[in-house]
């Protein structure tokens, strides 16, 4: 297991290297540059000033030199300074990542808490009103745009009932109760939509597993139905669910820009989005690199989870 993990981490290196090259190239190809932002709309577009700023930011050097310098520093954990905010990139990222991780993890957990029991029951009670209800609910969940559901939640729970704040954020370590109140609506907006997908997936996986011979065998030897379902069938059916949820989590960690705007959630999505618009190269580069790492690590964790669910699964 340990050798497998080390090997997977080793594979990270070329993946991330290619990622940085691609991102650097794409950002470089975008029209407009940071100097255009810095010299601003108010004139003073003096070529001398542009030269001074280009030198200050190292933008007077060829792209491969800038990339090599950035990479050299990045492998040492130094992502440089944001060209726009003039603060260390690490500070910018660390100010947004915890809020995003918090929302994504709670949102996915909520989706799993809804989807796994609902999908399982729908499969076990196939073609019954429970199954139809679960299917219709999940279809509605998939069909409703996330932002629209979020706005509905705000209107109902914040404006009409006044139970929850409509937007904002509080640090869970400083004020857990306030933090929970701020979290519920965005987590629900994230969780219910993801739950819609996962419910359908869990149901179809369960149906596949329930048709397999080992299930018939388990029943024939007299095991209780609950034991057959929850101890054997569900564990195997969870593999695709875990895979998709892992990818969903990685996707959410990449930032939910729309939800962050609706709920004024200070996550990494908006920070990277703004950085792209302003051509803040170091922040975009580092942000994508960190998110790339998160996706790769999430994939690794998903693979390791297979093994926990089914020891017969061989890693590597």
């Amino acid at each position: 297991m340990l050798a497998y993990i080390i090997r997977r981490i080793f594979y990270l290196v070329p993946v991330l290297f290619v990622l940085t090259v691609v991102v650097f190239t794409f950002v470089e190809m975008l029209p407009g540059n940071i100097i255009d932002t810095l010299v601003g709309t108010e004139g003073n577009n003096d070529p001398e000033v542009r030269k001074i700023l280009e030198k200050e930011y190292g933008l007077d050097q060829p792209v491969y030199v800038r990339y090599a310098k950035w990479l050299f520093r990045a492998v040492q954990g130094d992502f440089g300074m944001s060209l726009v905010t003039r603060r260390p990139v690490s500070v910018e990222l660390l100010s947004g990542i915890p809020a995003t991780v918090y929302l994504a993890v709670v949102g996915i957990s909520l989706s799993m808490l809804i989807a796994v029991p609902l999908g399982t029951i729908a499969a076990v009670k196939r073609n019954t009103p429970i199954d139809y209800t679960a299917q219709v609910t999940s279809l509605i969940g998939i069909s409703i745009p996330e932002f629209w559901f979020a706005i509905l939640c705000v209107l109902f729970f914040s404006l009409y009932l006044g139970w929850l704040p409509s937007s904002g954020f509080a640090n869970p370590f400083e004020d857990p109760w306030a933090s929970l109140k701020f979290l519920i609506l965005p987590a629900a907006a994230v969780g219910f939509r993801q739950a819609a997908y996962t419910t359908r997936l869990t149901r179809s996986s369960m149906l596949d597993e329930m048709n397999k011979e080992y299930v018939d065998t388990a029943r024939s030897v007299g095991l209780s139905e609950s034991k057959v379902i929850f101890k054997y069938t569900l564990r195997n059916a969870m593999i695709p669910t875990i895979t998709i949820s892992g990818l969903q989590l990685a996707n959410l960690l990449g930032g939910t820009v729309v939800l962050e705007s609706i709920f004024a959630w200070p996550g990494i999505g908006r920070a990277i989005f703004e950085a792209i618009l302003q051509r803040d190269y170091p922040l975009v580069q580092a942000g994508v690199l960190v998110l790339g790492c998160i996706v790769v690590v999430m994939n690794l964790l998903v693979d390791l989870t297979y093994r926990l669910l089914n020891p017969r699964v061989k890693l590597g």
Binding site: G40, T41, T85, S167, G168, A264, P266
Partner: protein, 541 residues
């Protein structure tokens, strides 16, 4: 100060200010201990922490490096300019209590308030002011907007601990307008090392904490120099919490849910229904002009440029006749604010009464002129910046109006770097844009209309010798009425030559809880407003 009082220019302005300054300011001028040294009276109404939902958030904390938008960024409350302005948009004393230009208008002398200090207790003296101006002028540090307002400065000298002189490259009767908060904002030289993390300014509120896109916490600066008419210290509030919420509806919802006490930028589409449905529950604060929107033509190259098309002016006339200003007023601004025929609205002391209008809306004439003009079928591109919805919506509407009269036109919305790139390369034909309100017309005309201004050359390339002469003459004219007329004449020529078509004044509506008392924003937003705005607001228990 009234127009009448301003009429005679900088010297009479100084006399008026001297008589108008408070007893404490007078004592300060006489060398006696100022506000900081006097017994500080406290208004019994003071108190409360306003939660302010804003559209924008600051990019960074160093107010020299970053552009701190006065309307929508609470960080503006932490700092201030050398001068201030009042509700009538007139320049009034702040850190400088007295100022005057030399006879040749090339040297401006500012006498500073004694006893005024930065939030860390550092004295605001002439050396501190000099250091601030020089730091803003440093191209490695100063934000382009701030820097561009001070480019007239040749050198700064300190004649006395509380007297600073700015020596200009060219004479200017309008230089003092460049030393207000926007763009000059004073920070403590002794705390410059922490300017990016714990800024120390001289405004009514002290910095407490900031997390971008989340929260900005400010607390009252007890030693702020300004007092109310009864001598009570300002500001009244204990503090302020800024909550950036970019989406207009999100801010409105937060106000209605009781999560914030004040919001800025109520969407134009929401304003009429909000006032009708919730006028009894909330107060609304209209600000008539924070800027002026326009459609600019690219005169550097392409079908609208005389360089490439002998009928360029006729084609611009055709486009101008196609623009339905009433349509923009109704569809984009929801009948909030006014249609613009010049740069200044009626609410401004610089409003020009007899500006000759742009070509009236006449689609048939537009069609005829377009057909008659060379390149009338040329492919055109309208661009708009993605930062402000009204720019995009005006662009979309003008796009539809031009199409209606047969122009072959497309419309694109871009982020700032792309728009800047298009300006630099001249790869656009029309631009739906705006300029923020200028305290002195020179700030607009000298920077964006004068043919030799870098911004003019870069963006639209307009050149008219008569316009240039008027702008340059107005710069050195001391009589305000004469200056106002000169600028009105320039706007008339603009409406005739059509380097751009003014469309609408950009108004602003703020809304707040009824508990918020004593609050009235100026065009400068909540903070930079002598005797008003957030300085005189308090929250009722």
């Amino acid at each position: 100060m009234t127009d009448e009082a301003n009429k005679k220019g900088p010297e009479s302005t100084r006399r008026k200010f001297l008589t108008a300054t408070t007893a404490l300011a007078g004592a300060a001028l006489a060398g006696l201990p100022g506000v900081a040294g006097a017994e500080r009276k406290r208004n019994p109404k003071r108190g409360g922490t306003v939660r302010f939902g804003t559209r924008d958030d600051s990019v960074g904390l160093d107010t020299h490096r970053n552009f701190i938008y006065f309307v929508s960024q609470p960080m503006a409350g932490t700092t201030g300019g050398l001068l201030d302005f009042d509700a009538g948009m007139n320049i009034v004393p702040a850190i400088a209590t007295e100022w005057e230009p030399s006879k040749d208008l090339k040297t401006w002398t500012f006498k500073l308030r004694r006893g005024a200090e930065f939030h860390n207790g550092e004295t605001i003296d002439a050396n501190a002011v000099k250091w601030n101006l020089e730091r803003i002028l440093d191209p490695k540090i100063g934000h382009s907007f701030n820097r561009s307002a001070l480019t007239d400065i040749d050198r700064i000298t300190v004649d006395d601990k509380f007297v600073v002189q700015c020596h200009l490259k060219e004479p200017s009767a309008a230089f003092d307008s460049n030393l207000v908060y926007y763009p000059v904002n004073l920070i403590a030289p002794g705390a410059v090392d922490k300017a990016d993390t714990e800024p120390v300014g001289c405004g009514p509120f002290k910095f407490k904490s900031w997390k971008r896109f989340d929260i900005c916490e400010l607390v009252r600066f007890e030693n702020f120099w300004e007092t109310d008419s009864e001598g009570n210290t300002l500001p009244y509030l204990d503090g302020l919490i800024g909550r950036p919420k970019k989406e207009d509806r999100v801010r409105l919802t937060a106000l209605r849910a009781g999560e914030v006490d004040l919001i800025d930028n109520v969407a134009y589409a929401d304003a009429p229904s909000f006032m009708k449905d919730y006028g009894k529950t909330y107060d609304t604060f209209p600000v008539p002009q924070v800027g002026t929107a326009f459609i600019a033509f690219n005169l550097k190259n392409g079908p609208f440029s005389a360089k490439d098309n002998p009928d360029a002016h006729m084609l611009r006339q055709a486009a101008a006749h196609a623009i339905d200003h009433e349509g923009i007023h109704e569809a984009v601004f929801n009948k909030q604010g006014e249609i613009a025929k010049g740069f200044y609205s009626k609410s401004s002391p610089w409003y020009g009464k007899d500006i000759k209008s742009w070509p009236e809306f006449d689609p048939d004439k537009a069609k005829a002129l377009r057909k008659k003009a060379k390149d009338g079928d040329a492919k055109l591109l309208i661009i708009a910046n993605d930062s402000f919805p009204y720019m995009q919506q005006s662009g979309e509407l003008v796009h539809a109006m031009l199409k209606d009269v047969g122009f072959n036109v497309t419309f694109e919305i871009h982020p700032t770097p792309v728009v800047q790139d298009k300006y630099n390369k001249g790869t656009f034909d029309l631009d739906s844009s705006a300029n923020s309100y200028r305290l002195d017309p020179d700030g607009w005309f000298s920077r964006s209309i004068l043919s030799t201004a870098p911004e003019t050359m870069r963006r639209h390339g307009y050149k008219n010798e008569k316009v240039d002469q008027l702008i340059l003459a107005a710069r050195v004219e001391r009589d305000k009425d004469k200056r106002r007329q000169m600028y009105a004449d320039v706007d008339s020529l603009i409406n005739q030559d059509l380097p751009l078509v003014y469309t609408h004044f950009v108004s602003l509506l703020q809304a707040g809880t009824k508990k918020l008392k004593g609050y009235k924003p100026a065009f400068t937003g909540p903070f930079q407003y002598a005797g008003g705005g957030m300085r005189t607001a308090w929250l009722e228990n």
